[in-house]
Symmetry: C2
Subunit: 359 residues, 2 copies
């Protein structure tokens, strides 16, 4: 059977102050549509996988938020990580959990805070992806054709095409966050795709890969083989999870395995990894400003994002070009879009100077 | 006996959103000192006039704010204007009220929303001013030596000095809000002073001047001669006040009377009539920024005012030069200081588009 694993433990500090540790990006109604990014992710996959086979992997502190936002999800489908260990341990646990429920089960791993604009293409891509991994022992990642030489993404280089599966390729290499020079070469070559962090495989295929390429993590989780799918599972996880090394699935498995494939897709994807990314995909007024339902009077503002939590608040602004204005009530950010990579450092400064409660 | 009349009916729209009709400028703790401008005005004059002889003239809607901020003031000293009629009717009423209590009484009229930095000089100036008007039938206004060719003030031109009263001059002319050219000539001449809106006279002197120079206003208030100082006074005012024409004391009396004098003073005065005026008198950091106790992390900001109502709020700003940032929770203003004269128009726009409750 097909399962879906939605990873929603991220803290999203790049969108501070709109995104805070207490309520990170995936839990925010980013577009004023009435649904958070997590809810949108859930809604989007529901056509392919029923709610009872959708698993949510998250940090313990976010369990109440998830129950509030997704009451349709059975309580036992919320897998609570007792510690932050990046994606590899998280996926290894989820695969064990699924394999215990269905040894032949397949799974798609989805980030909870990305945007997909072409829903139909997304469904079609996932359907083809499931078939592709269910027919053989393969690890599949979705690749997005790059639209710019972005230096913040991982890049996947295609190798030979897969016969009889159009748009699927063997993977030649992974390159995490290239420098600007290299990113331009990648873009020009036409052989490289952005790694969207969406993976498909059979649970047993990825567990096999862990055994071979990341035996340390595999060893931690293999010790629980008699507990998965039983009432003892969460006690086992609480006792053992934090002894797994912190590692990403890309480093642990994808860059090493020899049965890795990429499905190249056009699904209107954005990782919403930055204000700039949000800006790029948002509807704008004739001056290029993005406003999320806020009550704005602007004069001579251009290419500026106004992210105001309180929809009743009046904002009057003049003469801002290429700025981010984010106001959450507790914090106000007025910052050039071009400098947004410095926001993470600022979040640390805020924490040091004014306390944890602001970040 | 000496009385003080503090006028506090203004709405202060130039400081929107910090100043709102519901709580105008004079009621705000503008400098984070713990005392509002009104309270500071009261504190400042208390050395000269005891609380029981300090009268507060205000619009009815502000009575609760005044009682809250100045519990020391007896209730009967709060004179409530049933309509807005500018300063002439307000002062005419106050003079009648005082004359009924003490026919020989003298009075100083003070705006409630100005700043005086040199308190000792202020006290000395007022003492000399009281003596000056108590010895003869004179109308006295305080004149501030101009520091710039400001076009927003009234200018007083001095005539011959008064013998045996250093710094006192007969007044030759009043000029309200000159154009920039004229203001420069005024400044260069050395004969002109800013009209601070602080007046001293005997109650009977100003009532006599109303009779002679503004008979229409005088007629309205003379009808209540048997009511002032009695329980009937407020009923008389409620029934008659709004039939007085709206007029300023400058136009009604000062520009016409022939017994008008100016006392030239150096009291560290600012009318705080604009963000720029606030900026000019506020302490600044090494980059010229003014912050009122707010939790600010700024980078490359210069000559910018941060007026944040919530002292717990974090503000992160970069690259703002010569801006006003005013955040009241309900409204956020991000506006160039140079354009601040447009704020009044914006307040009207806000009212039209989003409702009265924001202004």
């Amino acid at each position: 059977m097909r399962y879906c694993v939605i990873m929603c433990g991220g803290v999203g500090s790049r969108f501070w102050p709109s995104s805070r540790e207490e309520r990170p990006k995936q839990f925010l109604d980013f577009f004023g549509s009435g649904r958070s990014l997590l809810q949108m992710t859930f809604d989007r996959v529901l056509e392919l996988v029923p709610a009872e086979r959708i698993l949510l992997l998250t940090n313990k502190r976010y369990a109440p938020l998830i129950r509030e936002q997704l009451p349709e999800i059975p309580a036992e489908n919320i897998l609570l990580e007792p510690a932050r260990r990046n994606t590899a341990p998280c996926i290894c646990w989820a695969a064990h959990h699924i394999a215990a429920l269905d040894p032949e089960g397949s799974m798609v791993v989805l980030p909870s805070d990305h945007l997909v604009l072409k829903e139909k293409a997304f469904h079609e891509s996932l359907r083809r992806g499931f078939e592709f991994v269910e027919n053989a022992d393969r690890l599949l990642t979705l690749g997005i054709r790059p639209s710019s030489p972005h230096t913040g993404y991982g890049y996947i280089q295609q190798d030979a095409p897969v016969e009889s599966a159009e748009g699927f390729y063997k993977v030649k290499s992974f390159t995490e966050k290239p420098n600007a020079e290299l990113a331009k070469v990648f873009l020009a070559s036409g052989e490289f795709y952005w790694n969207a962090g969406i993976f498909l495989w059979k649970a047993k295929s990825v567990l096999e890969a862990f055994n071979r390429y990341d035996p340390e993590t595999a060893a931690v989780f293999n010790r629980g083989n008699s507990d998965y799918g039983t009432p003892r599972e969460s006690a086992f996880i609480d006792a053992n999870y934090s002894s797994a090394p912190s590692n990403s699935i890309d480093y642990a498995i994808m860059e090493k395995a020899d049965n890795v494939y990429v499905e190249t897709v056009d699904i209107g994807w954005s990782d919403l990894g930055s204000w700039k990314a949000l800006y790029d995909i948002s509807p704008r007024d004739e001056h290029g400003n993005v406003t999320q339902n806020c009550r704005l009077i602007q004069q001579d503002c251009e290419n500026t994002v106004f992210a105001i939590s309180d929809r009743e608040k009046i904002v009057v602004a003049k003469g801002l070009k290429d700025y981010i204005i984010a106001d959450t009530g507790r914090a106000l950010l007025i910052y050039p879009v071009a400098d947004e990579q410095k926001i993470r450092q600022i979040v640390n400064d805020v924490k040091d100077r004014f306390g944890e409660e602001y970040v």
